[in-house]
Amino acid sequence: MAHSESSLVAPYFKDIEQQRETNTLGMWVFLVTEVMLFGGIFLVYAVYYFNYHDAFSEAGKELNLVLASINTLVLLCSSLTMALAVYACQTDKQKMLVTFLTLTLILGAVFLGIKGFEYFEKYEHGLIPGANFHYEGEYPLQASLFFGLYFAATGLHATHMIVGGTILAIITVKAMRGFYTSVNYDTIENMGLYWHFVDIAWVFIFPLFYLIER
C-alpha cells in the first residue's frame, strides 16, 4: 500500500512534520499520566519501606532474583529490537521492520512467561496476600503488605506488557501488509515510546523490590 504524503496529512495540520510532532507530543502526554500511575505505587512502597524496613528486607529475600535478572535482560533486548524496528521503518526496510517487530513480540511473551512462572512460585509458597497467606518469617503482617505491593507493581507492569503486546501484534500484522513506510511511521514511533516506557517502569521496579537489602 503506497501512500502519497499529502493523503496522510489530516486537513487540520499544516504539513506532515506538524502532524508528526503532534502525534509524538500526544504520546508523551499520555506517558506523563502513566508515570504518575506507577508513581503512586512507588510512593506507598517508599512510605512502608521506611516504616517496616526490617520486615521488607526479610520479605524481599523470598523473591527470585535470578529470574528477575533474566527478565531485565529480556526486556532490555526487546527495547533494542523495538528501537531497531523504528529505524527499519524510518529507512523503509520492510523485511527488517517485520523481523524486529516480531522479535519484540516474542521477547515480550518470554518476559510474561517468566513472570507467570514467578507468580506460580509465589502461589506454591503461599505468598499471595489473603486468606491463604502463609509466611514463616518474623513479621507476617508487614510481609503481607510487601507482597501486596509486589503484586500491585509487577501486576500493573504485566498488564501494560499485555496491552502493549496486543497492540504490537496488530501493528506487526499491518506491517506485514506493508502499511508502514518511511513517511508513515508515526504509529511505530509511538509504539516504541510506549514499549520503552514500560521498560523504564521495570528499571525502577527491579531494584526496588528484588534488590532490597540483599
Binding site: L25, V35, L193
Partner: protein, 106 residues
C-alpha cells in the same frame, strides 16, 4: 533557514551504531545494578541503586525514545512526569517524616 532547521529536528534518524552502543551501556548499568544491590554502601545503599536506575532511564529516554533530537515542547513533557513525581514523593515523605509516622527500623 527555518525549514532546514526543522528538517534536522524532526527527521533525524538515529543510526544503528548508536542504538547498539546505548544497549551496551544499558547492559553495563544492569550488571552494576545487581552488583550495587549486593554490595554495601552503608546509608547510601538505596541512593546508589536509585542513581544507577535513573542513569538507565535517562539513556533509554534520550536515545531509544529520541528525546535527544526532539523539540523543546516534547522535552518539557518528557521531563514533566518525573518533575511532578519528585514533588509528590518529596512532599509526601517529608510529611510522614515530620509527623513522626516514619519511625525507622522496627
Amino acid at each position: 533557514m527555518t525549514e532546514k532547521h526543522n528538517e534536522e529536528h524532526h527527521n533525524h534518524i538515529t543510526p544503528v551504531s548508536t542504538y547498539l552502543m546505548v544497549f551496551a551501556g544499558l547492559l553495563v548499568l544492569m550488571a552494576l545494578t545487581v552488583y550495587v544491590g549486593y554490595a554495601d554502601f552503608g546509608p547510601f545503599d538505596k541512593a546508589v541503586t536509585l542513581i544507577v536506575a535513573i542513569c538507565k532511564a535517562s539513556l533509554i529516554m534520550l536515545f531509544f525514545m529520541h528525546l535527544r533530537h526532539s523539540s523543546g515542547l516534547v522535552w518539557i513533557f518528557g521531563t514533566m512526569g518525573f518533575f511532578f513525581l519528585i514533588i509528590m514523593l518529596l512532599l509526601s515523605l517529608g510529611d510522614y517524616a515530620a509527623r513522626g509516622t516514619i519511625q525507622g527500623p522496627i
